[in-house]
Amino acid sequence: MQDTNVMLEARSLSKRYEDSVLALNEVSFTVEKGEIFAMLGANGAGKTTTINIFFNFIEPSAGEARVDGIVTHKDPLAAKQRLAFVSENVMLYPNFTAIQNLDFFSRLGGRKDYSRSDYHEVLLRVGLQEEAHDKKLRGFSKGMRQKCGIAVAILKDAPAILLDEPTSGLDPKAGFEFMQLLDTLRNEGKAILMSTHDIFRAKEVADSIGIMREGRLVMQKSGAELAAENLENLYLEYMAGKTVEA
């Protein structure tokens, strides 16, 4: 809070689901403006749960998530004004064209000043070929839909972007372009929280990396710290049961 650059913050976040799975266990981290934080972790480690709490899709059992100092489960609407979202499997409206989908979600996100050319521009920026812009999403591949989802998040122009496995479904070229896109967004001053299984890309682009296991953030290191290390080995070590270093 003293640090006015902190955009996203998890404070001892815990979540226990009704069937008593402890999905999150005292997770704490911060993401500053102009910073990318990548969460790694096995399936079921709690990455999606963390992101869901930021959007108040679920409430934390203990602790809190803050967006620009706003506690998400206390004032979700204010928090969500500052958040953009890319889900792991973007579907959007299959009977609408890409542009129509963008238009709806942008206006829902409070942006009513966009023109068609803005939509075209953003779609080109995320790498969706021009001829698809006015096609219905029904015929889109998973990667194409993912690109539309990313475009929706960009258009919202919120100070923080949360992405849940955004590169799933993207081909290598699109994945590469996506990382470049993240880079420019960071340079625009966005705080970016991303969950991913892509260790190499994460290392390449992230300012800070956390590894989650069974609901705990078992490691968090800055990019500089990791530069010299073999992240893959590190990841496997932590997955095997290594605990947080002092």
Binding site: F57, Q81, F85, N89, L92, Y93, L108
Partner: protein, 488 residues
């Protein structure tokens, strides 16, 4: 925010591939039904007018005032184009004369049983069955479909309040489905004026209320769809649930209500009534016979000590009195039996009326019944149609009979063959007057029963209120439920 979500919902409906097909089907069906309704109505108008001139012709040929037979038709009403109700099930005309009881016969369905098998599809049926299905088809996945698609999560990643969302979504779906339906409805009304069906302002009022009821009924199913889609996670489940609810509300509840009412208000069968009537008559006659036997015993007792000749004289003297006595007793018994019969029938009618009332009250638990009942009330093709005509025909019959008697007295002749035996003139046979010489110009004509607008619309107030209530309940349910809906 409202505007954005409503617009999106409208677009979603219009762009949905199933929309064009279902909408076209509904529209076509509606136009077709109104078209057929118009043809039917025009046919019955022609028949009605023909019957009036036929009656005049028959009067020309009548040979006596009292022997007149007026075949009286039910008057067609343009509202039957939209709501056929029971109008095809009950007789179209009755012969009205002094010798036969009136009886409405020759219903459309009894004349052409083929129509009875498939029934006419009228506007009411289309609203009740087709449009409610149409509403379900487009709303069963209103909420859970968005969840399954992942769009619900994306929507709520924005600063959208749940209350706002569920309300605007419901209203959007409602508008999106209802607005297109205005087209076939308007076309139907145009069809009616194109065929020069005379609609009085009063008919327009009734039509307007009918349309309002249809809108409310449709609204209920739209909101029910939204409600059930908030109660379930998967659209396949909500579709099933909605189909089951639809069957229950449209098909089962109305019939179950009638059966339940039958349990609450037992109505004796005709056989039972006849049995009780018979039983009473038998016991009365037995008493009569016992009393008769007793009387004869007494009479014989009075003559006990007399000689045969005196006995004969006594008998001759009293026989007339005795016969009168016995006659009076018999008449009395007969009257008692008749009174009992009347009472039984009255009782039966009351019970039937009560059964009807409870059945209708219970069946209004279903919006489908509430709509149907109010439609029939508005159109006048409701369950009272038959008794309404029977009552006014019965009073017409008495008028006619009274008229015949009066005219006969005035003209001093009876119809047919008249035989008089006179002690001076002897046997005298005379025929009635020649045909066509009778003056029927002042004969009362049948006036179809009139129902005031108030009578037609009063029951509708309750039903409109009920339909609005059901719709509101469904919407409120969806609202409350969605506040806690897991959007993931």
């Amino acid at each position: 925010m409202f505007k954005i979500i409503i617009e999106n919902e409208l677009r979603a409906i219009l762009y949905s591939p199933k929309f064009v097909a279902t909408f076209a089907t509904c529209s076509l069906l509606m136009l077709l039904s109104v078209f057929v309704g118009i043809q039917e109505y025009r046919a019955s108008v022609r028949q009605y007018e023909a019957s009036l001139s036929l009656a005049d012709q028959q009067l020309q040929e009548a040979s006596s005032y009292s022997g007149v037979n007026m075949r009286t038709y039910r008057a067609p009403d343009p509202m039957q184009v939209f709501v056929s109700g029971v109008q095809n099930d009950i007789g179209r005309f009755s012969d009205i004369n002094a010798s036969e009881a009136l009886k409405l016969t020759n219903s459309v369905y009894s004349d052409d049983p083929i129509f009875a098998i498939f029934r006419f599809i009228d506007f009411t049926f289309i609203v009740q069955v087709v449009l409610s299905l149409f509403a379900i088809l487009f709303t069963f996945d209103a909420i859970n479909g968005e969840r399954e698609r992942g769009t619900l999560k994306l929507i709520f990643s924005n600063a959208v309040s749940r209350a706002e969302y569920v309300l605007s979504k419901s209203i959007g779906a409602w508008l999106g489905l209802l607005a297109p339906l205005a087209i076939p409805v308007l076309l139907s009304l145009m069809l009616v004026s194109l065929f020069k069906i005379q609609l009085q302002p009063e008919h327009w009022m009734r039509l307007a209320i009918l349309l309002a009821a249809a809108v409310l009924f449709f609204t209920f199913f739209v909101f029910l769809g939204v409600l059930i889609s908030t109660l379930t996670r998967h659209s396949s489940v909500s579709f099933m649930l909605l189909l089951v609810s639809w069957v229950a509300l449209v098909l089962i509840v109305p019939r179950a209500a009638v059966m339940a009412a039958g349990q609450i208000v037992p109505v004796p069968s005709i056989a039972e009534i006849e049995g009780r009537e018979d039983g009473f008559a038998k016991s009365q006659w037995r008493t009569y016979e016992q009393q008769l036997a007793k009387r004869w015993q007494q009479r014989n007792g009075e003559m006990a000590g007399l000689s045969p000749a005196d006995r004969q004289a006594y008998r001759d003297e009293h026989l007339w009195q005795w016969m009168e006595q016995d006659d009076a007793a018999r008449t009395e018994i007969q009257e008692e039996i008749n009174a009992f019969r009347t009472k039984l029938n009255e009782d039966l009618r009351n019970r039937k009326a009560e059964l009807q009332r409870s059945a209708f009250t219970l069946s209004r638990l279903s919006p489908a019944s509430a709509f149907q009942l109010t439609a029939m009330n508005l159109a006048g093709t409701n369950i009272d149609l038959k008794s309404r005509y029977e009552d006014s025909m019965a009073s017409y019959r008495s008028e006619l009979i009274a008229y015949g008697r009066r005219k006969q007295k005035e003209s001093g002749t009876t119809g047919g063959i008249r035989i008089t035996i006179d002690s001076e003139a002897g046997l005298n046979i005379s025929t009635g007057r020649d045909k066509g010489t009778l003056d029927f110009s002042d004969m009362p004509r049948f006036q179809p029963p009139r129902r005031s607008l108030a009578q037609a619309t009063a029951p509708a107030v309750v039903d409109l209120g009920l339909l609005a209530l059901y719709s509101l309940l469904a919407l409120a349910g969806a609202f409350v439920r969605f506040l806690r809906y897991d959007v993931r």
